[in-house]
């Protein structure tokens, strides 16, 4: 009976493996093909090859980064910013993507009115771990905290250094829980987008009949708010907010 169970589990694993392996193989082919086209200077072709991987439902920070590069070289600034942002959302400390994003931003036309230079605490942004790493470290810290608690309970007793160590682990676990929460709010709490056309008229309401409040240009990064019948409400700053056609915004 036990042998049968093991055999069934192995069969299940074998049956489940092919789709992922096949996807990885197909994705690899398209990715490498895109790289070849990029090297040959066919940036639009490279972007199309990378997009086929995305269209099949698979992604990776490196894929989004290469897509950003291909679009930037092909002159599609907004799409480049969109894919760099997606790469950074998946891996917040992706240095090459951050650098190229800054370069792409320097080519955009709009400067946010309340944009501030990096403050003293800007270095905290460099400590971001990403959701997976933050959750793993948080799990390890919590588990270490509990294991140490169990050791104290049974074998180590009330030794002072053990108490200090456990308190430190507790604080670390709380900090990492905060990091997980922060990553969650970054991904789910504040949807953002990039404006795709060369120039977009931002209107006071969701329709062509509303007053044009201001104009934005290709690559402007905005917060996404409500949706209404093919229109999307966007926010640039506390004072600049309005509606644009849904098709003109790419969600990050």
């Amino acid at each position: 009976m036990r042998r049968l169970t093991v055999l069934a589990a192995a069969l299940l694993l074998v049956a489940a493996a092919p789709p992922r392996a096949q996807a990885q193989e197909k994705g690899s082919e398209a990715f490498l093909h895109g790289n070849d086209l990029y090297r040959a200077g066919d940036y639009a072709g490279a972007a199309a090859a990378y997009e086929t991987v995305l269209a099949s439902g698979w992604t990776a920070p490196e894929l989004e980064y290469n897509l950003g590069n291909a679009y930037l070289k092909a002159g599609k600034l907004a799409s480049a910013i969109l894919h760099y942002r997606r790469a950074i959302r998946m891996r917040p400390t992706y240095e090459s993507a951050l650098l190229n994003l800054n370069y792409a931003r320097s080519l955009t036309q709009d400067v946010k009115p309340d944009e501030q230079p990096p403050g003293r605490l800007a270095w905290i942004g460099n400590l971001r771990l990403g959701p997976g790493t933050a959750a793993l470290l948080c799990f390890l810290a919590v588990t270490a905290f509990l294991v140490l608690g169990a050791l104290r309970l049974r074998w180590l007793g009330a030794r002072p250094w053990v108490g200090v160590l456990q308190a430190a682990l507790g604080v670390l676990a709380l900090l990492l829980a905060g990091a997980v929460l922060f990553e969650w709010t970054e991904v789910h709490g504040r949807p953002e987008g990039v404006l795709l056309p060369e120039e977009v008229e931002v209107r006071a309401g969701p329709g062509e009949t509303y007053t044009v409040s201001f104009r934005l240009h290709e690559g402007a990064e905005v917060d996404l708010l409500r949706q209404s019948a093919g229109w999307r409400e966007i926010k640039v700053s506390d004072r600049l907010q309005g509606w644009v056609p849904q098709k003109d915004v790419g969600a990050i």
Binding site: A23, Q24, G27, S28, F31, L32, N35, Y38, V53, L54, G57, W58, T59, A60, P61, E62, L63, Y65, N66, N69, A70, L72, K73, R89, M90, S96, L99, N100, Y103, A104, P131, G132, A134, A135, L136, C138, F139, V142, T143, L146, V147, G149, A150, L153, R154, V180, E183, W184, V187, A204, T209, Y210, T211, V212
Partner: protein, 580 residues
């Protein structure tokens, strides 16, 4: 707490009885031309409650009436409180003649007050006017009616190439706007376009009439000489429709805010762009504007081979795109490295301008007083209508021998010169792909695993607590393990001779009772067991009877099977009961 006296005072004022309450109706003038406005004010003084809606005899089609708001006043003069309320109406007579307004009736404080009638003389209206023409000094077009019209003007109408032209779009209205006008930007082919800050609404008097003026400005910079056209400007407005407010006092029913759409399209405006005059000085590369050029160094004393930072700054009015790059003349006494450049565009209410600055790192190659000669930049000044050559003052650097570098060395250490900027190259290694939208899948796995750790700890904690409790309480430990111990002894009696089985069965029952009641196992007689069971309200008969029979069979073998003795022992144990 500080506001308490004020509140008490107000309460006293409101509670004071109405003395000398009166309601009056006044107009700002009694003789007007048809189509002009009269302001009618109904004022109630000395009443306590709210003034009701004024009522007046119907005026027919002779007048249009609009509500112009209401107000309340409280005042204390020489210790006496006074209150007044007023409602204002704008009345526009439609035809000439003599008319009587009122008497107006107003309900207040459960009484009806009547005002005196007012006689109005209306003279004939002037001929229907058209939008006032564009004033001198500007070129533009007007469109609309006398009540609401728009005007698009350019200033100056004949600019030089790359000189700023200010396009002003003004909406003049004597009607009440119910919404912000919807503005369609004009086509500006052949211009660089920059928006100018929004202006506050203003009031302007044209031909003796007050207009509310909304203005949108933009700066245009012609990029080619000749006649260029600024396309039509569209303004869609929602204004109050006076034709729907005929009945003077039905306005309170809700027709007051009925609006109508007004679309105004100005004609295109032509701008005559003059080419830049001939005679451009050498080094002129198309910079147009009114600028100042300044040069400064971070220090004038330096060691040979140590860097000095020179900053060139061009600031003023004009489009900085015409300026191009700032550069230095040949400086043979220095090694020159261009450093960072910065450009800031400024826009005041009227003009576009900005500051272009560029830094250079200069390394003195020799010791002594080294002069940075004036830096020159040729520009065309639209204000003066002539070319100018901007010059900075010469700067002297006192370079001392020695310094950070090694004299005579051909190469010196310094900042790495950045000569080009581009993005980083693509990733070449095939990544591990994940499902789109599964950024959180890995994180979710670890977060789900966290409760497992916590449950494991909780289980360990409970087990450890029980272990400690049992370690500290011997009687409890015996009681909890009594049944298990009895079962183990009974198991030893299986498959044995009836005599041996009976002995094991009796031992199991005795052990069970001893463990259950924390009694010594050795020397536990049926009498002891009987007393212990009675003390705990358990019938001792089944147990004592069983033990007697089991002891008897050891000495007088019977025909009973071994299994019978074991089953009887189990029944006796059950009769004693379970540990609590």
């Amino acid at each position: 707490m500080r506001s308490l006296p004020v509140v008490l005072l107000l309460v006293l004022v409101l509670a004071a009885p109405a003395r000398g309450a009166k309601v009056t109706a006044t107009v700002d003038r009694t003789t007007v031309q048809a189509g002009e406005q009269i302001v009618l004010t109904i004022q109630a003084e000395g009443i306590q409650g709210s003034m009701g809606e004024p009522r007046m005899p119907p005026l027919g089609d002779s007048f249009q009436i609009y509500s112009a708001g209401s107000s309340r006043n409280f005042s204390i003069i020489n210790g006496r409180a006074a209150s007044s309320q007023s409602q204002r109406f704008v009345i526009v007579p439609q035809k000439e003649g003599t008319f009587t307004i009122g008497p107006v009736e107003v309900d207040a404080d459960h009484q009806t007050y009547r005002t005196d009638p007012i006689r109005i003389t209306v003279t004939s209206a002037p001929p229907p006017p058209s939008p006032p023409p564009v004033s001198e000094g500007e070129t533009g077009t007007s469109a609309g009616t006398e009540a609401i019209f728009a005007r698009a003007t350019v200033d100056p109408p004949d600019p030089y190439l790359y000189q700023q032209v200010t396009l002003r779009i003004r909406l003049y209205t004597r009607l009440r706007l119910l919404d912000n006008p919807n503005y369609a930007a004009p086509t500006t082919q052949g211009f660089w376009r920059e928006d100018l800050p929004a202006r506050k609404p203003a009031v302007e008097v044209l031909n003796g009439k007050r207009y509310q003026v909304l203005e949108i400005d933009m700066a245009l910079f012609p990029t080619t000489p000749g006649d260029l056209t600024v396309g039509e400007v569209g303004l869609d407005c929602t204004v109050q429709d006076p034709s729907r407010s005929r009945d003077p006092f039905s306005m309170f029913g809700g027709s007051l805010l009925d609006g109508k759409q007004v679309s105004i399209r100005t004609d295109p405006v032509t701008v005559h762009v003059r080419p830049l005059p001939p005679g451009a000085p050498p080094g002129f590369h198309g910079a147009v504007g009114d600028y100042r050029l300044r040069a400064a160094v971070d220090r004038t004393e330096a060691s040979q081979q140590s860097p000095v930072t020179l900053t060139l700054e061009l600031s003023g009015q004009g489009h900085l795109r015409t300026v191009g790059d700032l550069d230095l003349p040949d400086l043979p006494q220095f090694r020159t490295y261009p450093s960072q450049a910065d450009q800031k565009t400024t826009r005041d209410q009227e003009r576009i301008g900005g500051t272009l600055s560029k830094q250079f790192v200069l390394v003195p190659l020799t010791a002594g007083d080294l002069t940075i000669p004036p830096v020159e930049l040729a520009v065309f000044s639209p204000a003066a209508g002539a070319y100018k050559t901007l010059k900075t003052k010469p700067i002297v650097i006192h370079a001392q021998a020695g310094g950070e570098g090694t004299p005579g060395a051909t190469g010196t250490r310094g900042d790495i010169e950045v000569v080009g900027r581009d993005i980083r190259f693509i990733e070449t290694q095939v990544p591990a792909f994940v499902r789109v939208g599964s950024t959180w899948s890995r994180a979710r796995f670890w977060l789900w695993l966290m409760p497992v750790s916590m449950l494991a700890y909780g289980g360990f904690w409970a087990w450890e607590r029980r272990r400690r409790r049992l370690g500290a309480d011997r009687a409890l430990r015996r009681r909890l393990s009594a049944r298990r111990t009895a079962r183990r002894i009974l198991k030893q009696g299986e498959n044995r001779q009836p005599e041996e089985a009976a002995a094991k069965a009796a031992e199991a029952v005795r052990t069970y009772v001893a463990d259950l009641f924390d009694l010594p196992r050795a020397g536990l007689t049926p009498d002891h067991i009987g007393r212990a069971l009675k003390a705990r309200d358990v019938d001792p008969e089944p147990v004592i009877g069983f033990l007697d029979r089991a002891d008897a069979v050891r000495f007088a073998p019977s025909a009973s099977a071994a299994g019978d003795w074991l089953d009887e022992a189990r029944a006796a144990i059950d009769a004693v009961g379970k540990p609590s």
